[in-house]
Amino acid sequence: MRPSNALNYDYTVAKYFMFATILFGIIGMAIGVIIAFQMAYPDLNYLAGEYGTFGRLRPLHTSGVIFGFMLSGIFATWYYIGQRVLKVSMNESPFLMFIGKFHFYLYMIVMVLAVISLFAGVSTSKEYAELEWPLDIGVVLVWVLWGVSIFGLIGIRREKTLYISLWYYIATFLGVAMLYLFNNMSVPTKLISGYGDWWHSVSMYAGTNDALVQWWYGHNAVAFVFTVAIIAQIYYFLPKESGQPVFSYKLSLFAFWGLMFVYLWAGGHHLLYSTVPDWMQTMGSVFSVVLILPSWGSAINMLLTMKGEWVQIRENPLIKFMILASTFYMFSTLEGPILSIKSVNALAHFTDWIPGHVHDGTLGWVGFMTMAALYHMTPRVMKREIYSKSLMEVQFWIQTTGIVLYFASMWIAGITQGMMWRATDQFGNLAYSFIDTVTVLIPYYWIRAIGGLLYLVGFFIFTYNIYKSMSAKELTKEPFSASPAGVRG
């Protein structure tokens, strides 16, 4: 059943998830900005009673951006890229179309319930896995539907060889499935005892074991949501947008299998100097350093894809977004291993350097790549050109400034904090009381909050640009480039 002319790809589900990406991006980042300002100015905690305190909002921020914004972006790009690299349209299979829509609606229901339950304080307290067991089951169903969609589409493919991006989507699917299932194992207490709230549960693991499983999950959810799935996107969008082939197939092979092999070992670096056995801490530390190789492998492959074509950076803001994303990926995957070295970790662990590290990765790498993906997809999904190239430029520089303010302030804050905690006077007594190490950080918290606010402003500009693009005049043929007309092809 080879079609006689070009395939008519069906982007209905991709479009839904693009809307979800923008919606959760705004919600998740806005809450992030609020809690950043709360740390600089604690009175902001009382705007909404118990529902507005830092403690309640923090899990909402992390879940909102990770599972709302980033995951929606991953789903949106899958429903776009999947069809194109497999040379098959979703409208050829009513079953897969149904699964795709079901996937979206169930996902939205679970997300809405998640927001409500986290506001209410229903939380297992495990970082990035706060949802209680009934919602965990919902998450698993959403994931299964995505799996059916991935392997279903692969099942009816016309292109026999799986493109690099697909390797990464498959790995995201399998990795997150495994991690999520094991970390969220818990016993619903009402079912066993007959007492209390029906949604309450108790973890299957206790103490040190619970922490091990939690950080095996916590670190590797970063791997398979923030890293693997985003590499899937850049391997498709950068060559498409620039018209350049991927620099090296061999390097992409090395980077992929290297990443799969090494990443899972690195979770132990969250537990340095804790009560987990020494050999595990050392493994976590060593493998984190080894992780530079596959990470930089991907990033260098991306940067070299632009070899001889660097002029495009000046002409096409989208290329700029993607190159900055790759650069921040390199930056963040160098910073991570440095933080995993035991002596550095002794200073930096528990300090603000850690949120700083997380955010240069997520804002710079994940955020920029997700927005670049949406900018590339919008003209093709909506059949309209992007509204304004200069707005993209403005957004780029505002957000880049925001990221720099964010990580620079958090570096200084983290190192200051770590040094003050360990400082002693000439008699060997602690030089500072704990509160001294807190109040000294207030200026940096202001800088961080302003940096976060700039990023959010940039995201609003992005939203406006996409909105204006969607409401523009429809094109009759596929757009020549994702970027505004007049850009080289």
């Binding site: 709360q38 899990p59 307290s125 973890s203 092999f261 132990g268 009560t275």
Partner: protein, 221 residues
């Protein structure tokens, strides 16, 4: 070999899964039996303390406070003896945390009192000038969920053999017995508090969240 894998999605997926799964098997499994052993003298939490722990989790206290003292002089000077694995044997889930915006609380029961916690939750800056912590005034209004805590304690006793009701361990008993035990422990805390509303509520048979969370914080030693 790789080009063959890239044409066979099933085997490709199997290969990926094997490559990512075994690190967990090697790193996590060997430790499970070993690290589950409680340290001598460590007891599971009473029902009131467990209800307090649930409030701690509900308001994500662990987002800003750790419960993991690292083996450095600066930390043992500040917080007390460094943490040992066996101390966490009944900690489901663990609350080690990953960020210290506030100090570590692993042994806070050794150096803070009921009275101090009460003032701190009501108005943090009144006891620690310059504190960034939000006030948790709603803990003085909401009732603690004792029944869910009882349900959890009973579940851990049945499923994980947590030694409630053993000699020298906290008593669980039936729901009626538990309510009496909880009331007794809560009475001691309420007596040390000054908030009249909490005292009046307790006289009516209601246990406010603040009472439970103070019981939990006092138990961290």
């Amino acid at each position: 070999m790789f080009s063959w894998l890239e044409k066979n999605p099933f085997f490709f997926a199997v290969a990926v899964f094997i490559v990512i799964a075994y690190a967990g098997i090697i790193e996590i499994l060997p430790d499970f039996a070993n690290r589950a052993r409680p340290l001598e003298g460590i007891k599971p939490p009473t029902v009131l303390e467990l209800a307090g722990k649930h409030i701690y989790m509900k308001d994500s206290c662990n987002a800003c406070h750790t419960q993991m003292i690292r083996p450095f002089k600066s930390e043992t000077d500040r917080y007390g003896m460094y943490s040992l694995s066996g101390e966490y044997a009944y900690d489901r889930p663990h609350l080690w945390g990953s960020k210290r915006t506030g100090p570590d609380l692993k042994r806070v029961g050794n150096y803070r009192t009921t009275d101090w916690h009460e003032n701190h939750m009501l108005e943090p800056a009144s006891v620690v000038p310059g504190s960034l912590m939000p006030a948790y005034k709603h803990m003085f209004k909401n009732n603690a969920d004792i029944e869910t805590a009882y349900g959890e304690a009973l579940t851990t006793k049945k499923v994980f053999n947590v030694p409630y009701d053993m000699e020298g361990m906290p008593k669980l008993g039936t729901w009626e017995e538990t309510q009496a035990i909880v009331k007794e422990q809560a009475q001691m805390i309420v007596d040390e508090m000054k908030n009249q509303e909490v005292k009046d509520a307790f006289a009516r048979g209601e246990i406010r969240e603040i009472v439970a969370i103070i019981a939990y914080l006092n138990s961290l030693k």
